[in-house]
């Protein structure tokens, strides 16, 4: 028996007055942790709301745990633990009341695990939610989601508001969830260090479009920062997949999102250093290359349209940024 993909989005479109999520397709397989990253306003929360059935796509298809969303959301949500940073519990009820409430709904609620999480997260079951700090509140919501042992955890900025120790505890719990190979996590965060640490697949969206979705190693492997030293007066032609180019005299720093040895071979002896980039550097590089005002760009021009053939370093004026 084949297990359905935990999340399948196909050519999903959702338009608002000032924002459109366009042609989003992504897959999350059982057993994976997907880091879902992108700058503010990229469409992460919109995508997550589509996955959880809170929004209906204008076009395309969303399936979660094999169920069509939003029509079958009530069934799908039996196996989804959804946590969002702007989700709040009932202020005048206690943590313990919430635990009983959630336990009464989910047959898979694990009281022993819940108890262990309460202890690990330093929560007090008798405390009212209104008296929790923002970090404790986040941990309480996560505890309620984790202890129901969902097959799919969808986490929208779950670690925002947590101190480093609490973040470490929470991320460790996420890793524990993945001991069961039938479970998976979609994890959206601004904290690229967290995402890089726990994800085995990274999906990067920006301005409502998918920039890249790949396993972490492949994703990180594609990005490189290349430092060149050009002969005096020389300049580089436009190169495919170079998303930024910073020129400082003879020194040029290129950032590429499709690194290949062909590119290094083409640049030849001008190459001084090639750096692997962290997710945070990739995030920042993409943002600098495509500032918020640039909305008409093509994010992934087809490779066939950009050939190295015929490109030569020419003696023209410098271009400071592409």
């Amino acid at each position: 028996m084949t297990h359905p993909k935990h999340i399948e989005m196909r050519s999903v479109r959702k338009a608002f007055r000032f924002f459109t999520l366009e042609d989003l397709s992504l897959d999350l397989e059982p057993g994976q942790i997907m880091g879902f990253v992108g700058p503010n306003g990229a469409g992460k929360s919109t995508s997550i709301r589509l996955m959880t059935g809170l929004l209906t796509p204008d076009a395309g298809e969303v399936r979660v745990l094999g169920h069509a969303m939003p029509d079958e959301q009530a069934i799908a949500k039996r196996d989804i633990g959804f946590v969002s940073d702007d989700m709040r519990l009932f202020a005048h009820a206690s943590v313990g009341w919430h635990m009983q409430f959630v336990a009464s709904i989910y047959p898979g609620w694990d009281p022993q695990y819940a108890k262990a999480l309460v202890k690990r997260f330093n929560l007090r079951t008798e405390q009212n939610v209104s008296g929790l700090s923002s970090g404790e509140h986040v941990k309480a919501v996560l505890m309620l989601a984790l202890a129901r042992r969902p097959r799919l955890l969808i986490l929208d900025e779950p670690t925002s508001g947590l101190d480093p120790v609490a973040r470490h505890e929470v991320l460790t719990e996420f890793m524990d969830v993945l001991r069961d190979e039938d479970r998976s996590i979609l994890f959206s965060s601004h904290n690229t260090v967290d995402v890089e640490r726990i994800s085995d697949r990274i999906t990067f969206i920006d301005r409502g479009r998918l920039v890249d979705s790949n396993d972490k190693e492949t994703f990180l492997d594609r990005w490189r920062r290349i430092q060149l030293q050009l002969p005096a007066g020389a300049t580089l032609p436009d190169l495919p997949h170079v998303i930024s180019r910073v020129v400082d005299g003879q020194f040029v720093t290129l950032t590429t999102n499709h690194f290949s040895q062909d590119l290094i071979a083409f640049l030849g002896s001008n190459v001084r250093e090639v750096h692997r980039m962290s997710l945070e550097e990739i995030f920042a590089a993409n943002e600098h290359a495509h500032p918020q005002t640039d909305r008409q760009r093509v994010l992934h021009p087809p490779l066939a349209h950009h050939r190295h053939h015929g490109c030569r370093i020419r003696r023209f004026g410098h271009r400071h940024r592409r």
Binding site: L54, V83, R88, A91
Partner: protein, 178 residues
């Protein structure tokens, strides 16, 4: 009578505000919708649950008013039809508040709904209480259940049904719930 009116109105406003509007304002709605239910289920549960919650004080207060009219010798029984109509109006009025709360996410709109429905109580008392075929029998020794009474009661019932049905056809079928 003022205490009776204030109590019954307050129950309705508090239930709608605590049960729906505050849940949205305090962002607990996302938590509720993370549970295995659809927005349609949410609307149905809220509508049914809050209506039942309101029925408890409404039945007690309405029955109390009727009993008071029957047992107090200084109050004419002719007031009974008007008391029944006023109770029915309060129930219909609450259903309008509930319908409004389920349809709007705007605090401003909700405030307007509450103000308008509260003002309607005064309007009802003056307008329906001023209908000659009802007004003329208020001081009668025995209640008069004439056509005017049944017409007003039918309008109240229709308002109630429309206000309670509308969320099933509109709010429960919204494409985007948050």
């Amino acid at each position: 009578m003022l205490t009776w009116l204030t109590t019954i109105v307050a129950f309705g406003v508090v239930l709608a505000m605590l049960g729906i509007a505050n849940e949205r304002k305090e962002r607990a709605l996302q938590f509720v919708l993370s549970l295995p239910l659809s927005p349609g289920d949410y609307v149905r549960v809220k509508l049914f649950g809050l209506f039942l919650c309101y029925l408890v004080p409404w039945v007690i207060l309405s029955a109390g008013a009727v009993v008071l009219l029957l047992v107090r010798p200084n109050l004419p029984d002719g007031l009974l039809p008007f008391a029944v109509l006023l109770s029915g109006f309060m129930l219909a009025n609450f259903s309008v508040v509930l319908c409004g709360a389920l349809h709007t996410a705007s605090e401003g709109v909700m405030t307007i709904v509450i103000i308008v429905t509260n003002m309607n109580v005064t309007l009802f008392i003056f307008m329906v209480g001023g209908v000659p075929s009802l007004h003329d029998h208020l001081r009668a020794a025995a209640p008069v259940w004439n056509d005017s009474f049944w017409i007003v009661l039918a309008v109240e019932a229709a308002t109630l049904l429309i206000a309670l049905s509308l969320p099933y056809f509109v709010a429960a079928r919204r494409r985007d719930f948050i």
